[in-house]
């Protein structure tokens, strides 16, 4: 057994090194930093929870707003991704994988390109308004699309969709056809088959899609900045400004760790709920 464990350790080494040096160490540094202070534009080592109290006092509103918006985006994305993956697995025949590949290919479009694309589509003289005016449905451009949470929602659903499709499609690939037929044969309506046989087998895929989307959206500060307008105060924007203009890295770190902690809690709750709802019955 010895050579095998050594080999395994060797294979794990590069990823462990990358994870430790580029991820755990900076994270550790910022965790320590979140208990420090800033005096006269200088970092002062300390062991205070002042920063966390400030987060709670001054930033609960954007925090709650961020979580509601990110949760909504994650739910919408996961459901749309499920629909698309379901189509690819069960209705697209031999071309299922091709459809998934096409979806993933859209990732090449790039993040900023997508943001500007939606700006062009949703703007007051954008494609959507021009089309609606041309069709005679409206006579003045509608301005609610752009610079609103809706614009952020549309853009982020669009961007995260391919990432959310992959885990769900992967899980659906593992679902065999015969048990689904067997369930129908035993008296289950197709909807019932979906909830009793398909969902319990892919719940982990659903949870990972939801988590990935949710974490991405909760931490995003580019889309809300460029498309969100004045009323989309997402926490990412505030965090970014603490590290930038406001020169208050400890507060920024405390805000980041608050977001991480809340994200983990929310994902745990959603995950447990999904696992419980789609458990094997009876």
């Amino acid at each position: 057994m010895m050579p095998f464990t050594r080999l395994r350790a060797l294979m794990l080494a590069p990823s462990s090194a990358i994870f430790a040096v580029l991820f755990m160490m900076p994270l550790g540094y910022f965790f320590v930093l979140s208990f420090w202070r800033v005096r006269a534009y200088r970092l002062r080592p300390d062991a205070t929870i002042t920063q966390y109290l400030a987060v709670f006092r001054d930033y609960s509103k954007p925090m709650v707003f961020t979580f509601i918006l990110a949760f909504t985006i994650a739910v919408v994305t996961t459901l749309v991704a499920f629909g698309y993956s379901y189509f690819c697995r069960f209705k697209a025949g031999r071309h299922g994988t091709l459809f998934v590949f096409v979806a993933v290919l859209t990732l090449f479009g790039g993040y900023l390109a997508k943001i500007y694309m939606w700006k062009i589509i949703l703007g007051s003289s954008g494609i959507l308004n021009t089309a609606l005016i041309w069709l005679g449905i409206i006579d003045k451009p509608i301005t609610v699309f752009l610079f609103s949470p809706i614009a952020v929602l549309i853009t982020l659903v669009h961007y995260t969709l391919p990432l959310a499709i992959l885990p769900i499609y992967g899980a659906l690939r593992g679902v065999e056809d015969t048990p689904l037929q067997a369930a129908r044969d035993l008296g289950a309506h197709p909807t019932r088959v979906l909830f009793d046989i398909v969902m319990p087998q892919i719940r982990l895929g659903m949870i990972s899609s939801f988590s990935m989307t949710f974490i991405f959206c909760a931490g995003d500060y580019v889309t809300p900045l460029l498309l969100g307008g004045p009323h989309t105060s997402m926490i990412g924007i505030f965090i970014q400004s603490q590290f930038g203009l406001r020169v208050n890295a400890p507060l920024g770190a405390a805000m980041s760790f608050s977001v991480i902690a809340l994200c983990l809690m929310l994902i745990a709750v959603v995950g447990l709920a999904v696992i419980r709802i789609f458990r094997a019955r009876p």
């Binding site: 015969t178 369930a183 129908r184 035993l186 289950a188 046989i197 009876p282």
Partner: protein, 364 residues
């Protein structure tokens, strides 16, 4: 027609009328009429691609027929979806629910029907006892062996007390020993439940071992439908004769009620003139050394041949002989002593009784 079942009152349970299925490029099942009696154990036997599974899937409701009708217990179910039919199926590959325990799998059908919990528990226990899976209730399905998974699939279908139990190649995935054991099990369960079983197989031995009646299918048609003994003894076509059991075939021509085989043997046989095939089962042929040996009396059709090789198989010897025209024939003989005086390459006399030969029209 049903020799074994003539003591019970026959009652038609399933009736197929002109049932047909065609796909864009090919016809899977040609218009077909079939009736299945209550309590029957019917085998649908045929080579792969003969349409037997399509037929079974039409009965279960998973394949929509292109034409014709399916009646079950006096009701036209042609357009009824699978979940609302009184049939249940044991799928090829079993199709167990991987995220459920053995007991949950078996209980699923009753759970769907909102059966009271106490009744579910009792019936699950009964079903598990029936298939002898008593102590496996809480096992996960992934931990089961092939034979055990097969039993779970059976119990899961039987617990709903279906009018017809359909089995799609039920034993194909099992090894030989387990297959024999499961054949015994299926027979016992059929007797114990008194149900109507229809199973699809490509294995003629399995069909013979289990079925009270066999439907032989080929190229989307039923080519013979009878009790196993009749199909074996009186195959109606060349295909059936070679597909079910081993057969020695000899081609010839019939003229004025005399068949002239290609090896110049002449046999009287009534029938229209034309090309024919003579079929004799290996165990119906006799063999003896050419010099000094004598075939039993009554063996009137005789030929000389050369022994190619012989194989000792315990209770009988398999001789393979070659005729003058090069054709190979197989003879199964229980007379083990002949083998001791015959060496490979020896000249032998072979023959059969005229009543043991089946004459088939050529091209059938």
């Amino acid at each position: 027609m049903l020799k074994r079942a003539d003591t019970v009152v026959l009652q038609q349970l399933v009736k197929l009328e002109g049932l047909t299925k065609s796909y864009a490029k090919a016809v899977a099942v040609h218009p077909l009429d079939l009736s299945i009696q209550r309590g029957e154990f019917l085998a649908i036997l045929g080579p792969s691609g003969c349409g037997k599974t399509t037929l079974l899937k039409m009965i279960s409701g998973f394949v929509h027929p292109t034409g014709g009708a399916i009646w079950i217990n006096g009701q036209d179910v042609t357009t009824v979806s699978p979940e609302r039919r009184s049939t249940n199926m044991v799928f090829q590959g079993y199709g167990l629910f991987p995220h459920m325990s053995v007991a949950q799998n078996i209980a699923y059908g009753l759970h769907i029907r909102k059966t009271p919990r106490a009744e579910i528990e009792q019936r699950v226990r009964e079903a598990m006892d029936l298939v002898q899976l008593g102590e496996f209730a809480d096992r996960s399905v992934g931990q089961l062996s092939g034979g055990q998974a097969q039993r779970v699939a059976l119990a899961r279908a039987l617990i709903l007390r279906p009018e017809v139990l359909l089995l799609d190649e039920p034993l194909a995935a099992l090894d030989l020993k387990l297959r024999k054991a499961m054949q015994e099990e299926l027979r016992r369960i059929h007797l114990a439940t008194g149900g109507t079983f229809v199973f699809v197989t490509h294995d003629q031995e399995e069909a013979m071992a289990l079925a009270t009646r066999i439907c032989v299918m080929d190229h989307g048609r039923v080519v013979q439908d009878d009790v196993p003994e009749e199909i074996y003894a009186h195959p109606k076509s060349r295909f059936v004769s070679t597909f079910i059991g081993d057969a020695n075939l000899m081609e010839g021509q019939r003229k004025r009620n005399i068949i002239c085989l290609e090896n110049e043997l002449e046999i009287p046989h009534k029938g229209p003139d034309g090309n024919v095939v003579c079929m004799i089962r290996p165990e119906r042929m006799e063999i003896a050394p050419l010099d000094g040996g004598k075939l039993p009396s009554g063996v009137t059709a005789q030929l000389t041949a050369r022994l190619d090789h012989s194989v000792f198989l315990g209770s009988y010897v398999k001789y393979v002989v070659r005729l003058n025209d090069g054709r190979r024939l197989r003879i199964d003989s229980r007379d083990l002593s002949i083998r001791q005086v015959l060496t490979d390459g020896a000249q032998v006399r072979i023959g059969w009784r005229l009543e043991d030969q089946i004459v088939l029209a050529d091209g059938s």
